[in-house]
């Protein structure tokens, strides 16, 4: 066993959430060690699209977190924008029928009241914004705050900027607790790390890590496929998706639901995704999911029919039963903090999460009320309810 290392806080997980927590904790003056059983961005971060979205959020705590995060992303982008391929491109949410457009506009009104910029786009102006869009669409709402990063680069560069000590290829086997229940570090397969605070940023495996700390957090995987096309000259300007996406996010159905978010990337390929299925950790190809993605994308952008898909990949979005992340201190284990369960929005919500965690770590009043994100809000199922 190697010698015990001492620092102020151990962040478990070198993905997007862990990187943001490390950055803001380090800025708050804490000495941070990040530990991951894999490598930087090797989990769900590496299988994401890099959506920084406010457009798909219903007014409430998640939207507040998205708005805070969006502001922070814009600030970080001043230094790191090029390195992380940040693009403040805006989102365009289209409605295919007048009925859907009505619903979308009502939804946008409520978002506007919560601080979102949402501009209605009549059918006649759609092609000024997005010239290659299909004809016959009913209209859209434009969200200038929606933006994009390359998620793996974002995690890597935020981690580097944090100056945190990075230990990869090292698995946390247990969160160490003192007799009074307080956290005093982690045990890894290659030695202990001593620290008075531990942040659970383990994403889809956050439930497992919570278990290794002796607390219950029901993080579940939701599979999402993303389709990637051959590189193209810039033809799609915004993040474009159909309005039924909004209904999907909060949906509780276990059946396949696919809604096309179509976007070009700085490197040229167009990303289409993601599908949403609850099938556990199965990585094998699902042709029905991938076909539905292609059908959705070509319906919005007919020119894509002749464009080739080069690859597809699956990732596992971590979600909690009420579809809100777990952020903040865990009263059941003093010194344990959670920053996981962001579902398909983890890249976008990472900066706000990181800031809130840093504020909680240093005893400051957090910018947002953490009550809706309390990690102890799910009772441990008894034998009976487990069935």
């Amino acid at each position: 066993m190697s010698e015990p290392l001492t620092c102020d806080v151990v962040v478990v997980g070198a993905g997007m959430a862990g990187a943001a927590c490390a950055l803001y904790a380090a800025r708050a003056g804490l000495e941070v060690t990040v530990v991951d059983r894999g490598h930087v961005a090797g989990g769900t971060t590496g299988a994401g699209e890099g959506n920084l979205l406010v457009s798909d959020k219903t007014p409430g705590p998640e939207l507040d977190l998205a708005l805070l995060s969006t502001r922070l992303w814009a600030r970080e982008a001043r230094e790191l924008g090029a390195a992380v391929e940040y693009e403040a491109k805006g989102g365009l949410v289209v409605a295919e029928t007048p009925e859907v457009l009505d619903k979308l506009r009502t939804f946008a009104d409520a978002q506007r009241a919560a601080g979102v910029t949402a501009d209605p786009v009549p059918a006649g102006r759609l092609h000024d914004l997005e010239p290659r869009l299909a004809s016959g669409l009913a209209g859209a709402v434009y969200y200038p705050q929606d933006a994009q990063v390359m998620p793996a680069l974002a995690a890597a560069h935020l981690l580097r900027a944090s100056g945190a000590r990075l230990l990869t290829g090292r698995e946390v086997t247990r969160v160490l607790r003192a007799p009074d229940g307080s956290v005093r570090g982690v045990r890894t397969d290659r030695g202990d790390l001593h620290a008075p605070a531990v942040v659970n940023a383990a994403g889809t495996w956050g439930g497992e890590l919570a278990d290794r700390a002796g607390v219950f957090l029901p993080v579940l995987p939701r599979r999402g496929f993303v389709l990637v096309t051959e590189p193209l000259p810039p033809r799609i300007r915004h993040k474009v998706y159909a309005a039924d996406y909004v209904a999907d996010v909060a949906s509780d159905s276990a059946a396949l639901q696919t809604s096309p978010v179509v976007e070009a990337t700085a490197a040229g390929p167009v990303l289409i995704g993601a599908s949403r299925e609850r099938v556990g950790f199965d990585r094998s190809l699902s042709l029905p999911a991938v076909r539905a993605l292609a059908a959705g994308a070509t319906r919005l952008f007919p020119f894509l029919s002749r464009v080739r898909a080069l690859r597809t990949y699956a990732g596992f979005r971590p979600y909690l039963p009420d579809h809100l992340p777990a952020i903040g201190p865990d009263p059941r284990a003093p010194g344990l903090f959670h920053a996981c369960g962001h579902e398909g929005a983890g890249i976008g919500l990472a900066t706000g999460t990181g800031l809130l965690i840093a504020q909680a770590l240093t005893g400051r009043t957090p910018d947002l009320d953490l009550t809706p994100f309390r990690p102890d809000r799910f009772p441990r199922p008894t034998k009976e309810t487990e069935r």
Binding site: A14, G38, H39, V40, A41, G42, G46, A152, L153, A156, H157, L159, R160, L166, T168, G169, L227, V228, T229, E230, P231, A267, P269, I272, R283, S284, L285, L287, P288, V290, R291, A292, L293, A294, A295, A297, T298, R299, L304, S305, R306, V307, R308, A309, L310, R311, T312, Y313, A314
Partner: protein, 493 residues
């Protein structure tokens, strides 16, 4: 289309399997991307070229003519120029999806009870400064040009790298009249001799090539490497083109011996560092791999029911090995489709060839390993991933950003994200970063138009709607019938 067996790949393994199965009453569809069956090993000149003696470019010409005539006399249905992009497992069996023709704009489906993956291998080339210059081709590429098009790469050639493919390529070039300035092999002669026992099956072949090299006066530089390829802009050409290479001797540790560098002028450099199995379709199906190859049992079955694999996809071992594996797979499939267990005694001779060639392949693999310190010679400005134009410097930077396996290196550098999906640069990236080289989990075996996927979605939706409608109808009829029966029961009593 519906059949018993789809064989994917019409090289030695696929042909042998198709013939063995079809001779036993199995309906077989044989699918291949090339315009003619034969694969890379038996690649044929296009008939329009009217080659007078194509056999001059091949050994084992007799084996080929036997397969070719057998195929012509068989009931095997051959689909050439069909590019398989996915094999799908469904409740009723397996569906092979392929894009026909050079256009590859629509997709066809072949449904079958069994599928044999005889997808062969692809060539590895490890990068060095100047390797992307026009005039540098892969060894296999040079061979394909000779066999398929009877086209001779221009001017003087150098053949370099490592592996058993270099000898036949050098002799074929020389036989076609190309002056070969040198055959540069990084493995030392002593190392090859150490494995001579296991290589016995291959050695007579090798000895024949050596004699031919001698006859054509091709200098053989063992334990040497190409350090750099040089280019200059030629008259009338747009950019730089290959003008020569610097070769140097290697010491015991794989480093260049100082002072041994010398320059060889040449117009073509054919370079190769071995063959890797094609496993994309197997990975999409979820077949278990062993290292880089598809894992199979003694009958050539993968761990996915209904899926067999044979030839280079199960481990690179050459044509005789592929023929043996294909033959065994074909017999196993015929028996299993009848619902019986095959008798391994029936294929004992093929089984012996398989065992011998697998041993030889393992020996070749360890004999022809790339020199240990090849990455030292890769400068930071050397392009590693040609599709995305990622340099060695960027790949090394990804490691300093926290990447630690081929997937995270790809994510942080873009190496392997382009057209070839890392087939070309995968081994180079693994070598440069010190990561274990691993199959990269490509779920689509080749690029597919989004329109093809979208149309299939709509067809399936319509099919499902029709099914739902039919169920409704059935249900309604049943209800009506029951209502009628109820009424009749309630009738006058």
């Amino acid at each position: 289309m519906r059949t018993d067996l789809v064989v994917i790949g019409a090289g030695p393994a696929g042909l042998a399997a198709a013939l063995a199965a079809s001779a036993r009453g199995v309906r077989v569809v044989l699918v291949d991307a090339a315009p003619e069956p034969g694969g890379q090993f038996y690649r044929q000149p296009a008939p329009a070229l009217r080659a007078r003696r194509p056999q001059a470019l091949h050994h084992r010409w007799r084996a080929w003519t036997r397969l070719r005539d057998g195929l012509a006399a068989s009931t095997v249905r051959v689909l050439t120029e069909h590019h398989v992009w996915c094999v799908e497992r469904e409740s009723g069996g397996l569906t092979v999806h392929a894009l026909p023709g050079p256009e590859q704009e629509r997709s066809v489906e072949v449904r079958a009870t069994a599928v044999l993956l005889a997808t062969g291998g692809y060539e590895t080339v490890l990068p060095f400064p100047g390797w992307t210059l026009p005039g540098v081709v892969t060894a296999g590429g040079a061979q394909a040009m000779l066999k398929g098009g009877l086209v001779v790469p221009g001017g003087t050639a150098v053949v370099a790298g490592t592996g058993p493919l270099l000898l036949p390529v050098a002799t074929a070039l020389a036989a076609a009249g190309v002056p070969v300035a040198a055959l540069v092999e990084s493995t030392g002669p002593r190392r090859l001799l150490r494995h001579a026992g296991a290589l016995a099956g291959k050695l007579p072949e090798g000895a024949g090539y050596a004699a031919r090299l001698l006859r054509h006066r091709v200098p053989f530089l063992a334990r040497h490497t190409v350090v750099r390829a040089h280019g200059a802009s030629g008259a009338g050409s747009g950019g730089d083109r290959l003008t020569g290479v610097t070769v140097a001797a290697l010491d015991e540790h794989g480093s260049v011996r100082p002072g041994t560098e010398r320059r060889l002028p040449c117009d073509t450099l054919a370079v190769g560092h071995g063959i890797l199995p094609h496993t994309d379709l197997a990975e999409g199906l979820g077949c278990r791999l062993g290292g880089h190859a598809v894992a199979v049992d003694a009958e050539q079955r993968t761990d996915v029911p209904g899926v067999w694999a044979a030839g280079e996809s199960t481990g690179v071992g050459g044509a005789a090995h592929a023929l043996a594996e294909g033959h065994i797979a074909g017999r196993s499939i015929a028996a299993r489709l009848r619902g019986t267990a095959p008798d391994p005694g029936e294929w004992a001779p093929a089984g012996r060839v398989r065992a011998r060639m697998r041993g030889a392949a393992a020996a070749l693999d360890s004999a022809y390993a790339p020199p240990a310190r090849w990455t030292d010679r890769v400068t930071d400005d050397t392009v590693i991933c040609r599709c995305e134009e990622v340099t060695a410097g960027a790949v090394r930077e990804a490691v300093s950003l926290g990447a630690g396996d081929t997937r995270t290196v790809k994510l942080l550098s873009r190496a392997g994200m382009g057209w070839c999906q890392g087939r070309m640069c995968g081994p180079a990236v693994a070598g440069l970063t010190g990561c274990a080289s691993a199959p990269s989990g490509r779920l689509l075996a080749r690029p597919v138009p989004l329109g093809v996927l979208a149309d299939a979605h709509r067809e399936h939706e319509e099919h499902r709607d029709r099914e739902v409608h039919r169920e409704h109808e059935k249900h309604r009829e049943k209800e009506e019938h029951r209502a009628y029966e109820d009424r009749t029961e309630e009738g006058p009593s």
